[in-house]
């Protein structure tokens, strides 16, 4: 099994250099994306077969590459199999979408070689079974995605995005490197088997937890390490944006789970507090940032931060319950988090691909230059609608189920004995509820401004429906969102082995229950049946429609819009993205973003138009990144004199350094 998987990855790695040649060929992008699609589908099948196999053998192998005394260890257990499935599900969707979308690429030579390499790197990360292979693949993944981020390098914003991304990625890898260093200890056991076997002291394991939060958290986009994400994800071509947001952040979640739940041993009570204290605010802040944006891809990137926050809240709860020995609740929280991993991969890919379709059709990413696209692109609009409802955590789609499971875990937390948790969990629950409501607001805005209303520009007015591959991908992902929403029991059962390995217990079997209901603990406590809710809504809607059309009236006629008697033909009269979020900006933004609205009125008699300027500050950038940048700038400016010394002084410096080192050694 694992040999097959490694062969698939090898195919991707071979495809990468060939991509340079294919880029010159007219059908090159079809070949590269078609092969990537085939490989991703096979890898996804391998992972699913492994995950659903009841005997569940653990595959592992060692290849003689990498460090000579270590080799490269690979292993597929339940956790790896699940994430392998997620990575390749997203990879297959992106490749299928790119079969149509990729043909519009102006410079395919900047995308085609890196795309298969990027897919291969993500696959290696989730299969790696020693620290060296893991870190090399992790860094390879960062670099390949960096190359894709700067593929449209004429745009100065993309260059800045690439720069910030490179810095943050290096920082994240450094933190992980240190984490694995501590895990390996002075013995230097880098393969995971040996790391699992050597227990750490309480202090050291706490250090590893914090380093893992920094390293994996910066890749996943947890606040305050998220600064690069909304810059880098939108800068890449849209199918890669979908991969970065939908899949790569999940690889980061995998890294965190692997280190904290697997390698680090039994958790301590305060770990969950650290995770929850970062996850909860990430969820709320992420969506508040998203609400302030008008660039459609940037809205989606910020919303990724929100969803990662939700996932980490689930993981934090799982840690808390695991530490207290309540493995059955830990399994519930852990399953909720993993189910959200899968769901987010589906709807975020769908939304980014939809944004790509818009970009192709109109050339615009700014929502305020779109509008009315439901008439021009009805199929894309229908699929995007499903994505927007699903990500807003509304029934009967999949986003709701995973949030519902997380809420159920929160409702069991009064049983936890620790006071810190008793105080932080209700607050986190409140933040999660707030994030869910704000997400709905955010996606009403995204959909309403770009697809509904009237076209604001000529580009939007002349848009045409996108190619068949793009539409196929959008509909496939939308169908997945519905199926996972109405039949969640199947997915929860598939996650059972993962929870069993990671937290020591799994949720009760769901698929045997009547009517395919999901019952996380006991029916008297809580149950949800997406299928019945969906059927009821469908049924009552159709009955109402039939009854009214048969019994009352089914005629309609078209007329100009009413608008209280004052319709205006100018599309600029419509609400824009900024004006839509103005009430929320006033409620939340004035404290969080120091938002100010400055009205500039022209003097009397002047014919200059009045202007309204909105001034927003990113509190985290101002408080954290700007001072660090300033310090580094200050330091480099002063260290710079070292570059212009005379040879004698350099020799003195070398001599002093030597003495200092010897003194240190002697001590």
């Amino acid at each position: 099994m694992i040999a097959l998987a490694l062969v698939c990855v090898a195919v991707l790695l071979v495809l990468a250099p060939l991509g340079i040649g294919f880029a010159m060929h007219a059908r090159g992008s079809t070949i590269v994306y078609g092969s990537s699609l085939a490989v991703s589908v096979s890898l996804c099948t391998i992972a699913l077969v492994d995950l659903l196999d009841p005997t569940r053998p653990i595959f592992s192998t060692v290849l003689p590459v990498g460090l000579p005394w270590l080799g490269a260890h690979f292993r597929i257990d339940a956790l790896s199999a699940f994430f392998l499935a997620v990575v390749n599900f997203g990879g297959a969707a992106a490749s299928l979408f790119a079969l149509g979308y990729g043909r519009h690429e102006a410079a395919p030579g900047r995308v085609l070689p890196f795309y298969p390499a990027y897919l291969a790197a993500m696959n290696i990360v989730v299969m790696a079974d020693d620290a060296f292979t893991f870190l090399v693949a992790w860094e390879f993944m960062s670099l390949a995605s960096w190359a894709l981020v700067v593929s449209h390098h004429r745009d100065s914003e993309n260059i800045r995005a690439g720069y910030v991304y490179l810095l943050m990625a290096s920082f994240g890898t450094l933190a992980l490197l240190l984490a694995f260093g501590v895990l390996a200890g002075s013995g230097g056991h880098y393969d995971f088997e040996a790391i699992r076997a050597t227990p750490l002291t309480s202090l050291l394991s706490g250090t590893v937890l914090l380093l893992a939060l920094l390293g994996a958290g910066s890749k996943a986009g947890l606040v305050p390490l998220h600064a690069w994400l909304p810059l880098a994800h939108p800068a890449a071509p849209s199918h890669v944006s979908g991969l970065m947001s939908g899949v790569m952040t999940k690889v980061a979640v995998y890294g965190f789970v692997r280190i904290v739940f697997d390698l680090l041993g039994p958790p301590e009570w305060w770990w969950s507090i650290a995770v929850l204290a970062i996850g909860g605010p990430s969820a709320t802040l992420g969506v508040l940032y998203a609400l302030m944006q008008r660039d459609i891809k940037r809205v989606l990137a910020y919303s990724t931060i929100e969803n990662i926050g939700i996932i980490f809240v689930g993981l934090g709860l799982a840690l808390a319950f695991k530490a207290e020995g309540m493995a059955w609740v830990a399994a519930l929280a852990f399953t909720a988090a993993l189910f959200h991993v899968l769901n987010h991969a589906a709807f975020k890919s769908l939304l980014f691909f939809g944004a790509g379709a818009l970009l192709n059709a109109t050339g615009e990413r700014d929502m305020e230059k779109l509008g009315g696209l439901i008439h021009r692109m009805p199929q894309t609009a229908a699929a995007m609608l499903i994505g927007c409802v699903a990500i807003s955590a509304l029934p009967p789609f999949n986003g709701f189920v995973s949030e519902w499971l997380t809420f159920q875990a929160i409702l069991l937390s009064p049983q936890l004995p620790s006071w810190g948790l008793k105080l932080i969990i209700p607050a986190v629950g409140g933040l999660l509820a707030l994030a869910a409501a704000l997400a709905a607001a955010c996606f009403v805005k995204l959909y309403g401004i770009s697809f509904l209303g009237r076209a604001r520009t000529a580009a939007a007015n002349e848009a045409t429906e996108v190619d068949v591959f793009s539409r196929l991908t959008l509909f496939a992902l939308a169908a997945f969102c519905l199926v996972a929403g109405i039949l969640p029991g199947l997915f929860i059962d598939a996650l059972a082995p993962v929870a069993k390995v990671m937290v020591g217990n799994s949720m009760p079997q769901q698929s045997g229950l009547e009517w395919l209901t999901i019952v996380p603990i006991a029916e008297s406590r809580s149950s949800y049946n997406g299928l019945l809710v969906f059927a009821f809504v469908l049924l009552s809607g159709s009955i109402a429609s039939l009854a009214i059309h048969r019994l009352a009236s089914d005629r309609f006629r078209r007329a100009p819009a009413w608008d209280c008697g004052f319709p205006d033909a100018n599309p600029a009269i419509q609400y824009t993205a900024s004006s839509f979020s103005q009430p929320i900006r006033r409620v939340f933004g004035s404290t969080i973003f120091a938002a100010r609205e400055i009205g500039e009125m022209p003097p009397p008699g002047s014919s200059v138009p009045a202007r309204l300027v909105v001034d927003l500050h990113d509190p985290i950038w101002d408080a954290l990144y700007a001072p660090i940048g300033k310090t580094i700038g200050f330091a480099t400016e002063h260290i710079n004199i070292l570059q212009f010394l005379t040879i004698r002084r350099y020799l003195t410096l070398v001599f002093v350094a030597l003495i200092a080192l010897l003194v240190v050694l002697a001590l």
Partner: protein, 318 residues
Amino acid sequence: MRMIHDLVSQGVQMLLVLSLAPLLTGFVRKIKAQLLRRQGPPLLQPYRDLVRLMRKDVVLAANASWLFRAIPYIIFAGTWVAASLVPTFGSGLMFSWSADLIAIIALLGSARFFLALAGMDVGTAFGGIGSSREVMIASLAEPAILITVFAVAMIAGSTQLSTIAEFMGSSAVGLRVSLGMALIALTIVAIAENGRIPVDNPATHLELTMVHEAMVLEYSGRHLALIDLSSQLKLLLYLSLIACIFMPWGAAAPEARIDALTIGAVAYIVKLAACGLALAVFETSIAKMRVFRIPEFLGAALMLALLATLLRFVSGSL
């Protein structure tokens, strides 16, 4: 036999909420008029309005999309299903396990999501202002009600409404501070969600402060009738919810016989009337708020709900 009994009881419930909803709205209007020393429209006026609207032609705005025409049915279906999952006269509903309280609230959230989209479909300034304010109100009201649900669910040990109703009817519940806070929070949210004074004025038109009416401005005929019926159902849902959690007296137990069911039905009507009366008195005695005072009003609900939840975490008996 059991199955048939349950199916009938669920069917009766669905028809009951549908037929009672306009009456409740008519009742509240009548009381409000009487409090202002006006005669007021007859109690059955909402039914007549609905029938009249249903029979009329729909006048669609020139650039309305397919979504605009589908949305009234989506909203109606979502609200109707949600309303028929809340226990009214008895707690033994066949399908009450298919959606718990969180799911019911989320269903209402779905309906609101589509209503806000409908406001933006035609591309008028009025529709936009309505949707924009609706999502602002919802972004505070929804967490408030979710956290209220947390508080209640933690006390009752369940998010299933029928289980909560049974627990609240038993003697195990006692007098709790957190329940009082939850009641106030739920009431505030109910007022905001149904667009009642002081948050929105259901009788207004052509006013810059309007929210709900601005979103549905372009609807006419049967579409408007469905949306009106949905808001009436929503009012009934919230009052039933308050009645079933905080006034559980008289509700029939699961598998109750016909006499218990009759008592339950009478008790339910009395409870609805009491809530409707209270709503009318409250609405008459208070003035409408400025839009940007609403967050403070809803923020109070949010804080109360959070405090109630926190109390439950801190102590089992508060």
